[in-house]
Symmetry: C2
Subunit: 295 residues, 2 copies
Protein backbone atom coordinates (compact mmCIF):
# COMPACT_ATOMS: atom_id res chain seq x y z
CA UNK A 1 0.00 0.00 0.00
CA UNK A 2 1.25 3.44 -0.97
CA UNK A 3 0.44 6.21 1.47
CA UNK A 4 -1.11 9.31 -0.13
CA UNK A 5 0.98 11.58 2.06
CA UNK A 6 -0.96 14.84 2.22
CA UNK A 7 1.47 16.36 4.66
CA UNK A 8 4.43 15.84 2.36
CA UNK A 9 2.61 16.92 -0.81
CA UNK A 10 1.10 19.99 0.86
CA UNK A 11 4.60 21.03 1.92
CA UNK A 12 5.81 20.58 -1.66
CA UNK A 13 2.95 22.77 -2.89
CA UNK A 14 3.70 25.41 -0.28
CA UNK A 15 7.37 25.37 -1.33
CA UNK A 16 6.37 25.81 -4.96
CA UNK A 17 4.11 28.73 -4.05
CA UNK A 18 6.86 30.28 -1.88
CA UNK A 19 9.20 30.18 -4.86
CA UNK A 20 6.62 31.95 -7.00
CA UNK A 21 6.18 34.58 -4.30
CA UNK A 22 9.96 35.07 -4.20
CA UNK A 23 9.95 35.68 -7.97
CA UNK A 24 7.05 38.11 -7.63
CA UNK A 25 8.99 40.01 -4.95
CA UNK A 26 12.14 40.10 -7.08
CA UNK A 27 10.13 41.69 -9.85
CA UNK A 28 8.94 44.30 -7.35
CA UNK A 29 5.31 43.30 -7.82
CA UNK A 30 2.50 43.05 -5.30
CA UNK A 31 2.55 39.75 -3.37
CA UNK A 32 -0.68 37.75 -2.91
CA UNK A 33 -2.81 38.94 -0.01
CA UNK A 34 -5.31 36.67 1.75
CA UNK A 35 -7.77 37.96 4.32
CA UNK A 36 -9.80 35.90 6.76
CA UNK A 37 -12.92 37.05 8.57
CA UNK A 38 -13.67 35.33 11.87
CA UNK A 39 -16.77 36.14 13.91
CA UNK A 40 -16.79 34.99 17.53
CA UNK A 41 -14.49 32.65 19.39
CA UNK A 42 -15.31 29.10 18.33
CA UNK A 43 -12.32 26.98 19.33
CA UNK A 44 -11.96 24.95 16.13
CA UNK A 45 -12.46 28.07 13.97
CA UNK A 46 -9.73 29.93 15.88
CA UNK A 47 -7.38 27.00 15.24
CA UNK A 48 -8.20 26.81 11.51
CA UNK A 49 -7.93 30.53 10.88
CA UNK A 50 -4.72 30.78 12.93
CA UNK A 51 -3.22 27.98 10.87
CA UNK A 52 -4.19 29.70 7.61
CA UNK A 53 -2.63 32.99 8.69
CA UNK A 54 0.59 31.25 9.80
CA UNK A 55 0.81 29.43 6.46
CA UNK A 56 0.49 32.75 4.63
CA UNK A 57 3.39 34.21 6.61
CA UNK A 58 5.56 31.15 5.97
CA UNK A 59 5.24 31.34 2.20
CA UNK A 60 5.52 35.12 1.93
CA UNK A 61 1.85 36.09 1.38
CA UNK A 62 0.45 39.16 3.01
CA UNK A 63 -2.40 38.25 5.32
CA UNK A 64 -5.06 40.08 7.28
CA UNK A 65 -7.14 38.59 10.07
CA UNK A 66 -10.37 40.43 10.76
CA UNK A 67 -11.63 39.11 14.07
CA UNK A 68 -15.08 40.42 14.94
CA UNK A 69 -16.93 39.89 18.21
CA UNK A 70 -19.64 37.23 18.57
CA UNK A 71 -22.36 39.88 18.76
CA UNK A 72 -21.47 41.43 15.36
CA UNK A 73 -24.66 42.16 13.40
CA UNK A 74 -25.32 40.77 9.95
CA UNK A 75 -25.30 44.32 8.57
CA UNK A 76 -21.85 45.01 10.02
CA UNK A 77 -20.49 41.77 8.60
CA UNK A 78 -22.00 42.50 5.18
CA UNK A 79 -20.37 45.95 5.28
CA UNK A 80 -17.05 44.26 6.08
CA UNK A 81 -17.51 41.90 3.13
CA UNK A 82 -18.27 44.83 0.85
CA UNK A 83 -15.12 46.61 2.03
CA UNK A 84 -13.06 43.52 1.22
CA UNK A 85 -14.69 43.29 -2.22
CA UNK A 86 -13.70 46.89 -2.91
CA UNK A 87 -10.21 46.75 -1.43
CA UNK A 88 -7.70 46.33 -4.29
CA UNK A 89 -5.01 45.16 -1.83
CA UNK A 90 -6.95 41.97 -1.03
CA UNK A 91 -6.69 39.23 -3.70
CA UNK A 92 -8.93 36.78 -1.95
CA UNK A 93 -10.62 36.20 1.37
CA UNK A 94 -12.56 33.67 3.34
CA UNK A 95 -15.36 34.02 5.84
CA UNK A 96 -14.71 31.28 8.40
CA UNK A 97 -17.76 29.10 9.03
CA UNK A 98 -19.82 28.49 11.07
CA UNK A 99 -21.14 32.01 11.68
CA UNK A 100 -23.14 32.86 14.81
CA UNK A 101 -26.77 31.81 14.55
CA UNK A 102 -28.17 35.33 14.27
CA UNK A 103 -26.35 35.77 10.92
CA UNK A 104 -27.68 34.33 7.64
CA UNK A 105 -24.68 32.35 6.39
CA UNK A 106 -25.95 32.04 2.83
CA UNK A 107 -26.58 35.77 2.57
CA UNK A 108 -22.99 36.47 3.60
CA UNK A 109 -21.47 33.90 1.23
CA UNK A 110 -23.53 35.34 -1.64
CA UNK A 111 -22.10 38.79 -0.88
CA UNK A 112 -18.49 37.64 -1.40
CA UNK A 113 -17.35 38.75 -4.86
CA UNK A 114 -16.79 35.62 -7.00
CA UNK A 115 -13.38 36.94 -8.11
CA UNK A 116 -12.20 36.97 -4.47
CA UNK A 117 -14.04 33.84 -3.36
CA UNK A 118 -10.98 31.62 -2.77
CA UNK A 119 -13.12 29.13 -0.82
CA UNK A 120 -15.10 28.51 -4.01
CA UNK A 121 -18.41 28.54 -2.13
CA UNK A 122 -20.17 31.18 -4.26
CA UNK A 123 -22.71 29.69 -6.70
CA UNK A 124 -21.04 31.44 -9.63
CA UNK A 125 -17.77 29.64 -8.90
CA UNK A 126 -19.58 26.39 -8.17
CA UNK A 127 -21.44 26.63 -11.46
CA UNK A 128 -18.28 27.51 -13.38
CA UNK A 129 -16.60 24.46 -11.84
CA UNK A 130 -19.54 22.19 -12.74
CA UNK A 131 -19.51 23.54 -16.31
CA UNK A 132 -15.75 22.96 -16.57
CA UNK A 133 -14.83 26.66 -16.77
CA UNK A 134 -12.07 28.55 -14.92
CA UNK A 135 -13.15 28.96 -11.27
CA UNK A 136 -12.02 28.60 -7.68
CA UNK A 137 -12.42 24.97 -6.71
CA UNK A 138 -13.32 24.43 -3.03
CA UNK A 139 -10.11 23.61 -1.18
CA UNK A 140 -10.91 20.08 0.01
CA UNK A 141 -11.96 18.56 -3.34
CA UNK A 142 -9.17 20.59 -5.02
CA UNK A 143 -6.73 18.96 -2.58
CA UNK A 144 -8.05 15.49 -3.35
CA UNK A 145 -7.64 16.06 -7.10
CA UNK A 146 -4.10 17.32 -6.55
CA UNK A 147 -3.16 14.28 -4.43
CA UNK A 148 -4.49 11.93 -7.12
CA UNK A 149 -2.53 13.82 -9.78
CA UNK A 150 0.77 13.91 -7.90
CA UNK A 151 0.63 10.19 -7.14
CA UNK A 152 -0.50 9.49 -10.71
CA UNK A 153 -3.46 7.44 -9.51
CA UNK A 154 -5.33 6.18 -12.57
CA UNK A 155 -8.92 7.45 -12.49
CA UNK A 156 -10.03 7.26 -16.14
CA UNK A 157 -12.80 4.67 -16.52
CA UNK A 158 -12.48 3.68 -12.86
CA UNK A 159 -15.59 3.32 -10.74
CA UNK A 160 -15.42 5.90 -7.96
CA UNK A 161 -17.87 5.75 -5.07
CA UNK A 162 -18.26 8.99 -3.13
CA UNK A 163 -19.86 8.66 0.30
CA UNK A 164 -21.66 11.82 1.43
CA UNK A 165 -23.32 14.57 -0.64
CA UNK A 166 -22.18 17.73 1.19
CA UNK A 167 -21.77 20.94 -0.81
CA UNK A 168 -18.14 21.31 0.24
CA UNK A 169 -16.83 17.78 -0.40
CA UNK A 170 -19.10 15.04 -1.74
CA UNK A 171 -20.96 17.00 -4.40
CA UNK A 172 -17.95 18.85 -5.88
CA UNK A 173 -15.59 15.85 -5.87
CA UNK A 174 -18.27 13.75 -7.60
CA UNK A 175 -18.46 16.39 -10.32
CA UNK A 176 -14.71 16.91 -10.69
CA UNK A 177 -13.77 13.25 -10.92
CA UNK A 178 -16.35 12.59 -13.63
CA UNK A 179 -15.19 15.49 -15.81
CA UNK A 180 -12.64 15.17 -18.57
CA UNK A 181 -8.98 15.73 -17.71
CA UNK A 182 -6.31 14.54 -15.31
CA UNK A 183 -7.67 12.75 -12.21
CA UNK A 184 -11.02 12.83 -14.02
CA UNK A 185 -12.96 10.63 -16.44
CA UNK A 186 -14.05 8.34 -13.60
CA UNK A 187 -17.47 6.71 -13.49
CA UNK A 188 -18.79 8.25 -10.29
CA UNK A 189 -21.54 7.06 -7.97
CA UNK A 190 -22.65 9.47 -5.25
CA UNK A 191 -24.02 7.70 -2.17
CA UNK A 192 -25.63 9.34 0.87
CA UNK A 193 -27.91 8.84 3.85
CA UNK A 194 -30.81 7.66 1.67
CA UNK A 195 -28.75 5.10 -0.24
CA UNK A 196 -30.11 1.61 0.35
CA UNK A 197 -27.44 -0.80 1.56
CA UNK A 198 -24.70 1.82 1.74
CA UNK A 199 -22.14 -0.98 2.11
CA UNK A 200 -22.87 -2.67 -1.23
CA UNK A 201 -21.57 -0.02 -3.59
CA UNK A 202 -18.10 0.50 -2.03
CA UNK A 203 -17.48 -3.21 -2.68
CA UNK A 204 -17.61 -2.52 -6.43
CA UNK A 205 -15.45 0.59 -6.26
CA UNK A 206 -11.96 1.05 -7.67
CA UNK A 207 -11.73 4.34 -5.76
CA UNK A 208 -13.62 5.38 -2.61
CA UNK A 209 -13.91 8.94 -1.32
CA UNK A 210 -15.44 8.83 2.14
CA UNK A 211 -16.76 12.10 3.55
CA UNK A 212 -19.23 10.82 6.08
CA UNK A 213 -17.72 11.77 9.45
CA UNK A 214 -18.39 8.39 11.06
CA UNK A 215 -15.20 7.00 12.65
CA UNK A 216 -14.28 3.53 11.39
CA UNK A 217 -17.24 3.34 8.99
CA UNK A 218 -15.32 1.84 6.08
CA UNK A 219 -14.03 -1.62 6.98
CA UNK A 220 -11.98 -4.19 5.05
CA UNK A 221 -15.02 -6.37 4.24
CA UNK A 222 -16.58 -3.44 2.34
CA UNK A 223 -13.83 -2.98 -0.24
CA UNK A 224 -12.21 -4.98 -2.99
CA UNK A 225 -8.49 -5.70 -3.36
CA UNK A 226 -6.32 -2.80 -4.59
CA UNK A 227 -8.94 -0.14 -3.88
CA UNK A 228 -7.80 3.48 -3.64
CA UNK A 229 -9.12 5.08 -0.45
CA UNK A 230 -9.47 8.82 0.18
CA UNK A 231 -10.57 9.48 3.74
CA UNK A 232 -12.10 12.93 4.19
CA UNK A 233 -13.75 12.19 7.53
CA UNK A 234 -12.22 14.20 10.35
CA UNK A 235 -13.82 13.44 13.70
CA UNK A 236 -12.55 14.57 17.10
CA UNK A 237 -12.95 11.67 19.52
CA UNK A 238 -12.77 12.66 23.22
CA UNK A 239 -9.76 11.03 24.92
CA UNK A 240 -8.52 12.14 28.33
CA UNK A 241 -5.14 10.49 27.83
CA UNK A 242 -4.35 13.02 25.04
CA UNK A 243 -2.96 16.45 25.77
CA UNK A 244 -5.72 18.18 23.78
CA UNK A 245 -8.40 15.97 25.32
CA UNK A 246 -9.25 14.32 21.98
CA UNK A 247 -7.74 12.52 19.03
CA UNK A 248 -8.51 12.92 15.32
CA UNK A 249 -9.78 9.98 13.31
CA UNK A 250 -11.21 9.36 9.85
CA UNK A 251 -14.04 7.30 8.35
CA UNK A 252 -11.70 4.45 7.48
CA UNK A 253 -10.48 1.49 9.54
CA UNK A 254 -6.95 2.30 8.47
CA UNK A 255 -5.26 -0.75 9.89
CA UNK A 256 -7.88 -3.15 8.53
CA UNK A 257 -7.71 -1.66 5.03
CA UNK A 258 -3.95 -1.19 4.80
CA UNK A 259 -3.47 -4.80 3.67
CA UNK A 260 -6.07 -4.50 0.94
CA UNK A 261 -5.75 -0.97 -0.49
CA UNK A 262 -3.31 0.08 -3.22
CA UNK A 263 -3.29 3.76 -2.17
CA UNK A 264 -4.67 5.30 1.01
CA UNK A 265 -4.72 8.67 2.79
CA UNK A 266 -3.95 8.69 6.50
CA UNK A 267 -5.96 10.77 9.02
CA UNK A 268 -4.43 13.03 10.18
CA UNK A 269 -1.88 13.91 7.52
CA UNK A 270 -3.93 13.14 4.41
CA UNK A 271 -6.61 15.38 2.97
CA UNK A 272 -6.50 17.84 5.90
CA UNK A 273 -3.14 19.50 5.19
CA UNK A 274 -3.94 19.61 1.46
CA UNK A 275 -6.92 21.87 2.19
CA UNK A 276 -4.80 24.78 3.45
CA UNK A 277 -2.29 24.35 0.61
CA UNK A 278 -5.06 24.60 -1.98
CA UNK A 279 -6.53 27.69 -0.32
CA UNK A 280 -3.12 29.31 -0.77
CA UNK A 281 -3.02 28.08 -4.35
CA UNK A 282 -6.43 29.67 -4.99
CA UNK A 283 -5.14 32.96 -3.54
CA UNK A 284 -2.15 32.84 -5.88
CA UNK A 285 -4.54 32.18 -8.79
CA UNK A 286 -6.77 35.06 -7.67
CA UNK A 287 -3.81 37.44 -7.71
CA UNK A 288 -2.73 36.31 -11.17
CA UNK A 289 -6.26 36.73 -12.53
CA UNK A 290 -6.66 40.21 -11.02
CA UNK A 291 -3.27 41.25 -12.40
CA UNK A 292 -4.27 39.82 -15.77
CA UNK A 293 -7.42 41.94 -15.79
CA UNK A 294 -5.44 45.07 -14.93
CA UNK A 295 -2.87 44.52 -17.70
Amino acid sequence: MILLDGKKVSNQIKDEIAQEVATIKERGEKVPHLAAVLVGNDGASLTYVGSKVRSCKKIGFDSTLIHLPEETTEATLLKQVEDLNNNPEIDGYIVQLPLPKHIDEQKVLLAVHPDKDVDGFHPTNFGRMALDMESFIPATPFGIMELLKRYKVETSGKHTVVIGRSHIVGRPISILMSQKGEAGNATVTLTHSRTKDIKALPLQADIIVSALGVPGFLTADMVKKDVVVIDVGITRVPDETKEKGYYITGDVDFEGLSEKASFMTPVPGGVGPMTIAMLLKNTLLARARHQGKQD
Copy 2:
Protein backbone atom coordinates in the same frame (compact mmCIF):
# COMPACT_ATOMS: atom_id res chain seq x y z
CA MET B 1 -45.61 -0.87 -18.37
CA ILE B 2 -46.87 2.63 -17.73
CA LEU B 3 -46.09 5.19 -20.38
CA LEU B 4 -44.54 8.41 -19.07
CA ASP B 5 -46.61 10.49 -21.45
CA GLY B 6 -44.68 13.73 -21.90
CA LYS B 7 -47.10 15.02 -24.48
CA LYS B 8 -50.07 14.67 -22.14
CA VAL B 9 -48.26 16.05 -19.08
CA SER B 10 -46.76 18.96 -21.01
CA ASN B 11 -50.25 19.89 -22.17
CA GLN B 12 -51.47 19.76 -18.57
CA ILE B 13 -48.62 22.07 -17.53
CA LYS B 14 -49.36 24.46 -20.37
CA ASP B 15 -53.03 24.50 -19.33
CA GLU B 16 -52.04 25.29 -15.75
CA ILE B 17 -49.79 28.11 -16.93
CA ALA B 18 -52.52 29.44 -19.25
CA GLN B 19 -54.87 29.61 -16.25
CA GLU B 20 -52.30 31.58 -14.29
CA VAL B 21 -51.87 33.95 -17.21
CA ALA B 22 -55.65 34.42 -17.37
CA THR B 23 -55.64 35.37 -13.68
CA ILE B 24 -52.75 37.78 -14.24
CA LYS B 25 -54.66 39.41 -17.08
CA GLU B 26 -57.82 39.67 -14.98
CA ARG B 27 -55.83 41.54 -12.36
CA GLY B 28 -54.63 43.89 -15.10
CA GLU B 29 -51.00 42.97 -14.51
CA LYS B 30 -48.19 42.49 -16.98
CA VAL B 31 -48.23 39.03 -18.61
CA PRO B 32 -45.00 36.99 -18.87
CA HIS B 33 -42.87 37.90 -21.88
CA LEU B 34 -40.35 35.49 -23.41
CA ALA B 35 -37.89 36.56 -26.09
CA ALA B 36 -35.87 34.26 -28.33
CA VAL B 37 -32.75 35.24 -30.24
CA LEU B 38 -32.00 33.22 -33.35
CA VAL B 39 -28.90 33.84 -35.46
CA GLY B 40 -28.87 32.34 -38.96
CA ASN B 41 -31.18 29.85 -40.62
CA ASP B 42 -30.34 26.41 -39.22
CA GLY B 43 -33.34 24.21 -40.01
CA ALA B 44 -33.70 22.51 -36.63
CA SER B 45 -33.19 25.81 -34.80
CA LEU B 46 -35.92 27.47 -36.86
CA THR B 47 -38.27 24.62 -35.95
CA TYR B 48 -37.45 24.78 -32.23
CA VAL B 49 -37.75 28.56 -31.96
CA GLY B 50 -40.93 28.58 -34.00
CA SER B 51 -42.45 26.00 -31.71
CA LYS B 52 -41.48 28.01 -28.61
CA VAL B 53 -43.04 31.19 -29.99
CA ARG B 54 -46.24 29.34 -30.95
CA SER B 55 -46.47 27.84 -27.45
CA CYS B 56 -46.16 31.33 -25.94
CA LYS B 57 -49.06 32.59 -28.04
CA LYS B 58 -51.23 29.60 -27.13
CA ILE B 59 -50.93 30.14 -23.40
CA GLY B 60 -51.18 33.93 -23.49
CA PHE B 61 -47.53 34.94 -23.00
CA ASP B 62 -46.13 37.87 -24.91
CA SER B 63 -43.26 36.74 -27.12
CA THR B 64 -40.61 38.39 -29.24
CA LEU B 65 -38.54 36.65 -31.88
CA ILE B 66 -35.30 38.41 -32.72
CA HIS B 67 -34.05 36.80 -35.91
CA LEU B 68 -30.58 38.01 -36.88
CA PRO B 69 -28.73 37.18 -40.10
CA GLU B 70 -26.03 34.48 -40.19
CA GLU B 71 -23.29 37.12 -40.62
CA THR B 72 -24.20 38.97 -37.39
CA THR B 73 -21.01 39.91 -35.50
CA GLU B 74 -20.34 38.83 -31.93
CA ALA B 75 -20.37 42.49 -30.88
CA THR B 76 -23.81 43.04 -32.39
CA LEU B 77 -25.17 39.94 -30.68
CA LEU B 78 -23.67 40.99 -27.33
CA LYS B 79 -25.29 44.41 -27.74
CA GLN B 80 -28.61 42.65 -28.41
CA VAL B 81 -28.16 40.58 -25.25
CA GLU B 82 -27.42 43.71 -23.23
CA ASP B 83 -30.55 45.37 -24.57
CA LEU B 84 -32.61 42.36 -23.49
CA ASN B 85 -30.99 42.44 -20.04
CA ASN B 86 -31.99 46.09 -19.68
CA ASN B 87 -35.48 45.82 -21.16
CA PRO B 88 -37.98 45.65 -18.28
CA GLU B 89 -40.66 44.29 -20.62
CA ILE B 90 -38.73 41.02 -21.12
CA ASP B 91 -38.99 38.55 -18.22
CA GLY B 92 -36.75 35.94 -19.72
CA TYR B 93 -35.05 35.06 -22.98
CA ILE B 94 -33.12 32.36 -24.71
CA VAL B 95 -30.31 32.48 -27.23
CA GLN B 96 -30.96 29.52 -29.52
CA LEU B 97 -27.91 27.27 -29.95
CA PRO B 98 -25.83 26.49 -31.91
CA LEU B 99 -24.53 29.95 -32.87
CA PRO B 100 -22.52 30.50 -36.08
CA LYS B 101 -18.89 29.46 -35.68
CA HIS B 102 -17.49 33.01 -35.71
CA ILE B 103 -19.30 33.76 -32.44
CA ASP B 104 -17.97 32.63 -29.03
CA GLU B 105 -20.98 30.78 -27.62
CA GLN B 106 -19.71 30.80 -24.04
CA LYS B 107 -19.10 34.55 -24.11
CA VAL B 108 -22.68 35.14 -25.21
CA LEU B 109 -24.20 32.79 -22.62
CA LEU B 110 -22.15 34.49 -19.87
CA ALA B 111 -23.58 37.85 -20.96
CA VAL B 112 -27.17 36.75 -20.34
CA HIS B 113 -28.32 38.18 -17.00
CA PRO B 114 -28.89 35.25 -14.59
CA ASP B 115 -32.30 36.68 -13.60
CA LYS B 116 -33.48 36.37 -17.22
CA ASP B 117 -31.64 33.14 -18.05
CA VAL B 118 -34.69 30.89 -18.44
CA ASP B 119 -32.56 28.23 -20.15
CA GLY B 120 -30.57 27.89 -16.89
CA PHE B 121 -27.25 27.77 -18.79
CA HIS B 122 -25.50 30.62 -16.92
CA PRO B 123 -22.96 29.35 -14.33
CA THR B 124 -24.64 31.36 -11.59
CA ASN B 125 -27.89 29.48 -12.16
CA PHE B 126 -26.08 26.17 -12.58
CA GLY B 127 -24.22 26.72 -9.31
CA ARG B 128 -27.38 27.76 -7.50
CA MET B 129 -29.06 24.59 -8.75
CA ALA B 130 -26.11 22.41 -7.65
CA LEU B 131 -26.15 24.09 -4.22
CA ASP B 132 -29.91 23.54 -3.91
CA MET B 133 -30.83 27.22 -4.07
CA GLU B 134 -33.58 28.92 -6.07
CA SER B 135 -32.51 29.01 -9.73
CA PHE B 136 -33.65 28.32 -13.26
CA ILE B 137 -33.24 24.61 -13.90
CA PRO B 138 -32.35 23.76 -17.52
CA ALA B 139 -35.55 22.77 -19.28
CA THR B 140 -34.74 19.15 -20.17
CA PRO B 141 -33.70 17.93 -16.69
CA PHE B 142 -36.48 20.10 -15.21
CA GLY B 143 -38.91 18.27 -17.48
CA ILE B 144 -37.60 14.86 -16.41
CA MET B 145 -38.01 15.78 -12.72
CA GLU B 146 -41.55 16.97 -13.40
CA LEU B 147 -42.49 13.76 -15.24
CA LEU B 148 -41.14 11.66 -12.34
CA LYS B 149 -43.12 13.77 -9.86
CA ARG B 150 -46.43 13.71 -11.75
CA TYR B 151 -46.28 9.93 -12.19
CA LYS B 152 -45.14 9.56 -8.54
CA VAL B 153 -42.18 7.40 -9.56
CA GLU B 154 -40.31 6.40 -6.39
CA THR B 155 -36.72 7.68 -6.58
CA SER B 156 -35.60 7.82 -2.94
CA GLY B 157 -32.83 5.29 -2.33
CA LYS B 158 -33.15 3.98 -5.90
CA HIS B 159 -30.05 3.41 -7.97
CA THR B 160 -30.22 5.74 -10.97
CA VAL B 161 -27.76 5.33 -13.82
CA VAL B 162 -27.38 8.38 -16.04
CA ILE B 163 -25.79 7.75 -19.44
CA GLY B 164 -23.99 10.81 -20.83
CA ARG B 165 -22.34 13.74 -19.02
CA SER B 166 -23.48 16.72 -21.13
CA HIS B 167 -23.89 20.08 -19.42
CA ILE B 168 -27.51 20.37 -20.50
CA VAL B 169 -28.82 16.92 -19.55
CA GLY B 170 -26.54 14.30 -17.95
CA ARG B 171 -24.71 16.51 -15.48
CA PRO B 172 -27.72 18.47 -14.19
CA ILE B 173 -30.08 15.47 -13.92
CA SER B 174 -27.39 13.54 -12.01
CA ILE B 175 -27.20 16.43 -9.54
CA LEU B 176 -30.95 16.97 -9.23
CA MET B 177 -31.89 13.34 -8.68
CA SER B 178 -29.31 12.93 -5.90
CA GLN B 179 -30.47 16.01 -4.00
CA LYS B 180 -33.03 15.93 -1.22
CA GLY B 181 -36.68 16.41 -2.13
CA GLU B 182 -39.34 15.01 -4.42
CA ALA B 183 -37.98 12.94 -7.35
CA GLY B 184 -34.62 13.18 -5.56
CA ASN B 185 -32.69 11.21 -2.94
CA ALA B 186 -31.60 8.67 -5.56
CA THR B 187 -28.17 7.06 -5.53
CA VAL B 188 -26.85 8.30 -8.85
CA THR B 189 -24.10 6.90 -11.06
CA LEU B 190 -23.01 9.08 -13.97
CA THR B 191 -21.62 7.05 -16.88
CA HIS B 192 -20.02 8.40 -20.05
CA SER B 193 -17.75 7.64 -22.99
CA ARG B 194 -14.83 6.66 -20.71
CA THR B 195 -16.88 4.27 -18.59
CA LYS B 196 -15.54 0.75 -18.87
CA ASP B 197 -18.20 -1.76 -19.85
CA ILE B 198 -20.95 0.82 -20.26
CA LYS B 199 -23.49 -2.00 -20.40
CA ALA B 200 -22.76 -3.39 -16.92
CA LEU B 201 -24.07 -0.53 -14.78
CA PRO B 202 -27.53 -0.17 -16.39
CA LEU B 203 -28.13 -3.80 -15.43
CA GLN B 204 -28.01 -2.77 -11.75
CA ALA B 205 -30.18 0.31 -12.19
CA ASP B 206 -33.67 0.88 -10.82
CA ILE B 207 -33.90 3.98 -13.01
CA ILE B 208 -32.02 4.75 -16.25
CA VAL B 209 -31.74 8.17 -17.85
CA SER B 210 -30.20 7.76 -21.27
CA ALA B 211 -28.88 10.91 -22.97
CA LEU B 212 -26.42 9.38 -25.38
CA GLY B 213 -27.91 10.02 -28.82
CA VAL B 214 -27.25 6.51 -30.12
CA PRO B 215 -30.43 4.97 -31.60
CA GLY B 216 -31.35 1.63 -30.04
CA PHE B 217 -28.39 1.67 -27.62
CA LEU B 218 -30.31 0.42 -24.59
CA THR B 219 -31.60 -3.10 -25.18
CA ALA B 220 -33.64 -5.48 -23.02
CA ASP B 221 -30.59 -7.56 -22.03
CA MET B 222 -29.04 -4.48 -20.39
CA VAL B 223 -31.79 -3.80 -17.87
CA LYS B 224 -33.42 -5.54 -14.96
CA LYS B 225 -37.12 -6.24 -14.52
CA ASP B 226 -39.30 -3.24 -13.56
CA VAL B 227 -36.69 -0.66 -14.49
CA VAL B 228 -37.83 2.94 -15.06
CA VAL B 229 -36.50 4.25 -18.36
CA ILE B 230 -36.18 7.92 -19.33
CA ASP B 231 -35.07 8.25 -22.94
CA VAL B 232 -33.54 11.66 -23.68
CA GLY B 233 -31.90 10.61 -26.94
CA ILE B 234 -33.41 12.36 -29.93
CA THR B 235 -31.82 11.30 -33.20
CA ARG B 236 -33.08 12.12 -36.68
CA VAL B 237 -32.69 9.03 -38.83
CA PRO B 238 -32.89 9.68 -42.60
CA ASP B 239 -35.88 7.89 -44.15
CA GLU B 240 -37.13 8.70 -47.63
CA THR B 241 -40.50 7.09 -46.98
CA LYS B 242 -41.29 9.84 -44.44
CA GLU B 243 -42.71 13.19 -45.47
CA LYS B 244 -39.95 15.10 -43.64
CA GLY B 245 -37.25 12.77 -44.98
CA TYR B 246 -36.38 11.43 -41.52
CA TYR B 247 -37.90 9.89 -38.42
CA ILE B 248 -37.14 10.64 -34.76
CA THR B 249 -35.86 7.89 -32.51
CA GLY B 250 -34.41 7.60 -29.01
CA ASP B 251 -31.59 5.66 -27.32
CA VAL B 252 -33.93 2.91 -26.22
CA ASP B 253 -35.13 -0.22 -28.01
CA PHE B 254 -38.69 0.67 -27.01
CA GLU B 255 -40.36 -2.50 -28.18
CA GLY B 256 -37.74 -4.75 -26.60
CA LEU B 257 -37.92 -2.98 -23.24
CA SER B 258 -41.66 -2.48 -23.06
CA GLU B 259 -42.14 -5.98 -21.63
CA LYS B 260 -39.56 -5.42 -18.89
CA ALA B 261 -39.88 -1.79 -17.80
CA SER B 262 -42.32 -0.51 -15.17
CA PHE B 263 -42.35 3.07 -16.55
CA MET B 264 -40.95 4.32 -19.84
CA THR B 265 -40.93 7.52 -21.92
CA PRO B 266 -41.71 7.21 -25.62
CA VAL B 267 -39.70 9.04 -28.31
CA PRO B 268 -41.20 11.19 -29.66
CA GLY B 269 -43.77 12.31 -27.09
CA GLY B 270 -41.71 11.82 -23.92
CA VAL B 271 -39.03 14.19 -22.68
CA GLY B 272 -39.14 16.37 -25.82
CA PRO B 273 -42.51 18.09 -25.29
CA MET B 274 -41.70 18.53 -21.57
CA THR B 275 -38.74 20.73 -22.50
CA ILE B 276 -40.86 23.50 -24.01
CA ALA B 277 -43.37 23.32 -21.16
CA MET B 278 -40.58 23.81 -18.59
CA LEU B 279 -39.13 26.74 -20.52
CA LEU B 280 -42.55 28.39 -20.24
CA LYS B 281 -42.65 27.47 -16.54
CA ASN B 282 -39.24 29.14 -16.04
CA THR B 283 -40.53 32.27 -17.79
CA LEU B 284 -43.52 32.36 -15.46
CA LEU B 285 -41.13 31.97 -12.50
CA ALA B 286 -38.89 34.74 -13.87
CA ARG B 287 -41.85 37.10 -14.07
CA ALA B 288 -42.95 36.29 -10.52
CA ARG B 289 -39.42 36.86 -9.19
CA HIS B 290 -39.04 40.17 -11.01
CA GLN B 291 -42.43 41.31 -9.73
CA GLY B 292 -41.40 40.18 -6.24
CA LYS B 293 -38.26 42.32 -6.42
CA GLN B 294 -40.27 45.34 -7.54
CA ASP B 295 -42.83 45.04 -4.72
